[in-house]
Symmetry: C2
Subunit: 300 residues, 2 copies
């Protein structure tokens, strides 16, 4: 997805949030915003928003001198999400359609995002998770049947993670996916710290390494920015039967690609809601045919 002009005020809002979460004082917060302003004239609207996210985060790291400003926040997210895990597992056990419920959980887990929201209370999010359990209304973009069919056909599945904490919800979905035999799933994380996005250690702390292989995409943008991804990742990306892409950043960087990608995320701004054709705050499950790109339906 290209950058829209409405994204520009939001870049500054995100930079301010990032600066504060990184503990910058007011003077440094202003310096960070000034540096973002300095980059703006060179930033093309043809670039995706996560490319600016990457630049903003680098500026925050440089000025605060912290290589992982969200470390404590991420640890807290994992702790809180893991505490929810038994409850969620119990709800799943009572579901008539466990895969669908796990998909809803995985999307609801995407609400845990320090990049797009200023505040977090994971416990409160449980309410929306349980609501989501009842399925989406007719006017939302939630194409579960296409997802299910593609999943049943697929052998190799690339699962692109997003935020720390959300990883616990991903684990639930992966556990459900593994109930069906013959699936080879790889969980993908970012290469280096970027906002609160998951790294290999974060995925391990959620127990995903007990289930499937974890690799890095090579990208240190808050999305899967293919030009900076590793050859190892790209080889898997180009050959997977199905790609499960979590979060708005992965959507923004991959929405124009032609691989069989399913996007699972919470729409967190008006720009993306308009781009998708949903409402801000909706749980979205769509594949890239929505955008006129072919889903090949390879495999199994």
């Amino acid at each position: 997805m290209r950058t829209y002009l409405e994204c520009i005020p939001c870049f500054f809002r995100q930079a301010l949030t990032a600066a504060r979460l990184a503990g910058a004082d007011e003077e440094d917060q202003k310096r960070i915003l000034d540096e973002v302003a300095g980059v703006l004239p060179t930033f093309s609207l043809n670039a995706t928003p996560p490319e600016m996210g990457r630049i903003i985060y680098r500026i925050v790291m440089k000025i605060t001198g912290k290589d992982d400003p969200y470390r404590d926040i991420k640890a807290e997210s994992t702790r809180k999400a893991l505490a929810l895990y038994p409850q969620l597992k119990e709800i799943l056990s009572q579901s008539d359609d466990r895969l669908r419920t796990a998909v809803s959980f995985a999307i609801a887990g995407n609400s845990i995002d320090y990049g797009a929201r200023d505040a977090l209370d994971i416990e409160k999010e449980l309410v929306s998770i349980l609501d989501a359990e009842n399925g989406a209304s007719a006017d939302t973009v939630f194409d579960y049947s296409r997802f299910r069919d593609a999943f049943h056909r697929a052998e190799t599945i690339l699962y692109l993670g997003d935020n720390v904490g959300e990883t616990v919800f991903d684990r639930l979905l992966i556990e459900e996916m593994l109930q069906e035999p013959g699936k080879r799933i790889t969980y993908v994380v970012r290469e280096r710290p970027i906002i609160n996005d998951a790294l290999i250690d974060d995925a391990r702390q959620c127990g995903i390494d007990d289930l499937v292989e974890i690799i890095s995409s090579g990208s240190d943008a808050p999305g899967t920015l293919l030009p900076i991804c590793s050859p190892e990742f790209l080889e898997r990306f180009n050959n997977a039967d199905m790609i499960v892409s979590k979060g708005q950043g992965n959507f923004e960087t991959l929405s124009e690609e032609r691989q069989p990608i399913f996007f699972l995320f919470m729409a967190k701004c008006q720009v993306i809601a308009r781009d998708i054709g949903c409402r801000n705050g909706d749980m979205v499950l769509c594949d890239n045919t929505l955008r006129g790109n072919a889903v090949s339906g390879r495999g199994g």
Copy 2:
């Protein structure tokens, strides 16, 4: 009021809104945002937000080549507000406290502001005007009794206008003020086009020139920026018994002054709500003692 860091994303949002209302195409909208970004590092947080508003508007004028991009919108605002005038006058005629009702109208009229809001439907605002008629709740900042007492004492009153359209609501309040004999009221407008702020002709089109003298402040900022105001205005400003200041921009530029100023406006953002101690969207009536500045209570 100083500029807060939260104002910075809002500057870009305002610049985008201004660029679009001025008819800039997408390329020019981006150029306008890039130029605002270029100014940001030189902009001190000790400056007031309208100082940046003035810079933004100059950039919009330069890039669009239009000296008054909001001309049509302003004409439409006047037309719509004048159409409401008979209804409002009728409501006033049935009020037990006409001055108070007129004050509420004058504040509600401040909701007509293209600078802080993207959309407008003056007719819909009538609902909030009528609600306002019932007075503000205990937890809002609405100190009518101080306003009334200061008004009864004052002989010379300087009334600082804000937006076009709102001027019609100002006329209603001025008409009520003139019911009390011995008041010498001057209505003040901006010197040159700035967003949708009222100029001398706008005030005339609302019939204010039939009631009181109209002068320009000399300021072409979306507020009363004293360092650029005319000596004629400053002389009146320094000697008025009471100053009635309409709108957020006038508040932001005058909140630290020591003249006997009463601020009447709708709080249109979280920053100002926090600064004032009210909620976003509240109707505010306060004087500058709220901020620790003395109101001398000169005159009558």
